[in-house]
Amino acid sequence: MPYIATHQGRTTKVKVKEPRPGQFIVSLGDREYDVDFLEPEPNLFSLIIGGRSYEVDVDATHVPDTYEVLIKGDVYEIEMVEEKKKKLAQKMNKGASGRQDLKSPMAGNVRKVLVEPGDHVTQGQVLLILEAMKMQNEIKSPIEGVVASVTAREGVAVAAGDPLCVVEPWEPEFPAG
């Protein structure tokens, strides 16, 4: 089944075949790779591609279909979704528009909640402040809209990926003609 990979905003069409156990053929767009695959310990891959050897750590993240890949010290965050699923998703939500479910980017304590349901917020407006390891981090609204709900509570700890609040897009009474 084909996948759509997204990394740093760029998307690539991906196909995977496994002609023999441990032997993969992976195509990225028009580039094709023969891969000798081994997983010596869970989530640690040893890949040999045309003689080149790579030690790769691949871990699923708390975001569905998203993987954290560690190679020679660099971390790559890659979304790998089945093509049909992706198409569906795109229809429902065009980029940073539509309903925004804001999730916590890290574990920490909710230091301040600056909005409440019903508030009108502008794009980039600070909604709440998270604190971890003595550092304060602002969570901003990606769109202009109305706060639909606030899950975060001041002084309460959250884990990475926990929902913080929801912002509904702003619809003016009279749609701009």
Binding site: Y3, A5, H7, T12, V14, V16, E18, R20, P21, G22, Q23, F24, V26, L28, R31, Y33, D34, V35, F37, L38, E39, P40, E41, P42, N43, L44, F45, L47, I49, G51, Y54, V56, D57, V58, D59, A60, D65, Y67, V69, L70, I71, K72, G73, D74, V75, Y76, I78, M80, E82, P105, M106, A107, G108, N109, A132, M133, M135, N137, A159, A160
Partner: protein, 506 residues
Amino acid sequence: MFKKILIANRGEITIRVIRACKELGVPTVAVYSEADRTALHVRAADEAYCIGPAPSRESYLRGDRILEVAKAAGADAIHPGYGFLSENAEFAEACAAAGITFIGPNPRAIRVMGNKTTSRVAVFEMGVPLVPGMRENLQSEDQAVEWARKIGYPIMMKAAAGGGGKGLRMIMREEELLPAYRTAKSESLAAFGDDAVYMERYIENPRHIEIQVLGDRHGNIIYCPERECSIQRRHQKVIEEAPSPIVDEEMRRAMGEAAIRAARAVDYDSAGTVEFIVSGKSREFFFLEMNTRLQVEHPITEMITGIDLCKEMIRSAAGYVLPFRQEDVQCHGHALECRIYAEDPDNRFLPTPGRIIGLRVPGGPWVRDESGMYEGLDVPIHYDPMLSKLVVWGSTRERMVTRMLRALSEYKVKGIKTTIPFHARVLKNEKFLAGEIDTNFIDREFQPQDEARVKPFEDVALVAAAIKAYRQDKARALAGVGASTGGSSDASLWKRSGRLKRDPGF
């Protein structure tokens, strides 16, 4: 030697002290907050006691509780590590009062050096250079000229009400002095409603260079070759090396002797560090402060001198005489330390607490890992984000750097983001390799580079992620019959396909 030592700290430094005690044959007592029951130091010590809830002020800063634990456990000495109670004179006195040895300097040294003013007065009397400048405000233009000559150019004119660059004026030579004085005054008046200004020497390409000293209870004190700690982020040291690329034998001796004078000013009798600000331009050095504790970056000094600072600090607290003299202290090769923080270098260095789900530590020649990490550790959100220190030694500065790059490439921390990849980029920076660094190095060279960066193995990453997704989907399809359980199953899969393997090129 002591019968039993309590370490009033957490994290890597506690592990460091426990290791030194083990090697000295002294049993150890760990204390931990409720958030740290899972911490490595709890398991590493011979004994461990909970001293309260997660917040430091309710646990690691509770000197009273810690002393009670020490008494109850029969410890006759307390090592404070760094941070927390390490530079708290009252705690040091409380230990003494309880008949327990505080492994650190005498309380007076802590108190005097702990205060900016008293420390400067103390060391100035001993002839240790301070940044030249006025301690009061300018009254007149004549006074300005007179003071400017005393201070020496370049000079920084500063608004007394100060802040935000307003009323700051740099003055390179005397002609510029009076005009600058007038503008500074009017700017400052406009900005703060107060035209008071004063002058200080401007330090060009400021570098942070410090001298490790080591004293015993018998009046002996020695200094070690310097450490340079100019690679900083938000005034937080990130990379340290020893010796400094700009310090030669003569300068080393001059700084070392100044450090000894500063230490003598407070009868220093333990391990400590005298910090200097050094002009990268003129190579003049000026006293900043003295840290009356064992410092985070002490290992690089250990690597070039062969002196076990942590062990000697404990021995001298136990009353032993230093086992070597100044002339025995050598400077052999180069050492480098990278501080590994739980921060995401690709996302504004946001802290990244969480669970370490995988850990592989670098090894091999002249690589030293000073860590509080283990696989399975939940990095708590309550404390400093430093996870470990990676230290290497090399016979030359170049070998030191290439070795660190090699070691960083072996260091795998999974589950949370760390600053490991950031270190690798700093170490590949031309200016760093040339030793042309100062305390603004990272802000100047890095924030931009970080955003723009292209990662070299994107295709391999995509291939890996694709195979991962494919195998997961397949496993689901097979209703999870083992295909994704990794290790064993794949190994055996491979064994079966072993003989079918593509011939590698002949």
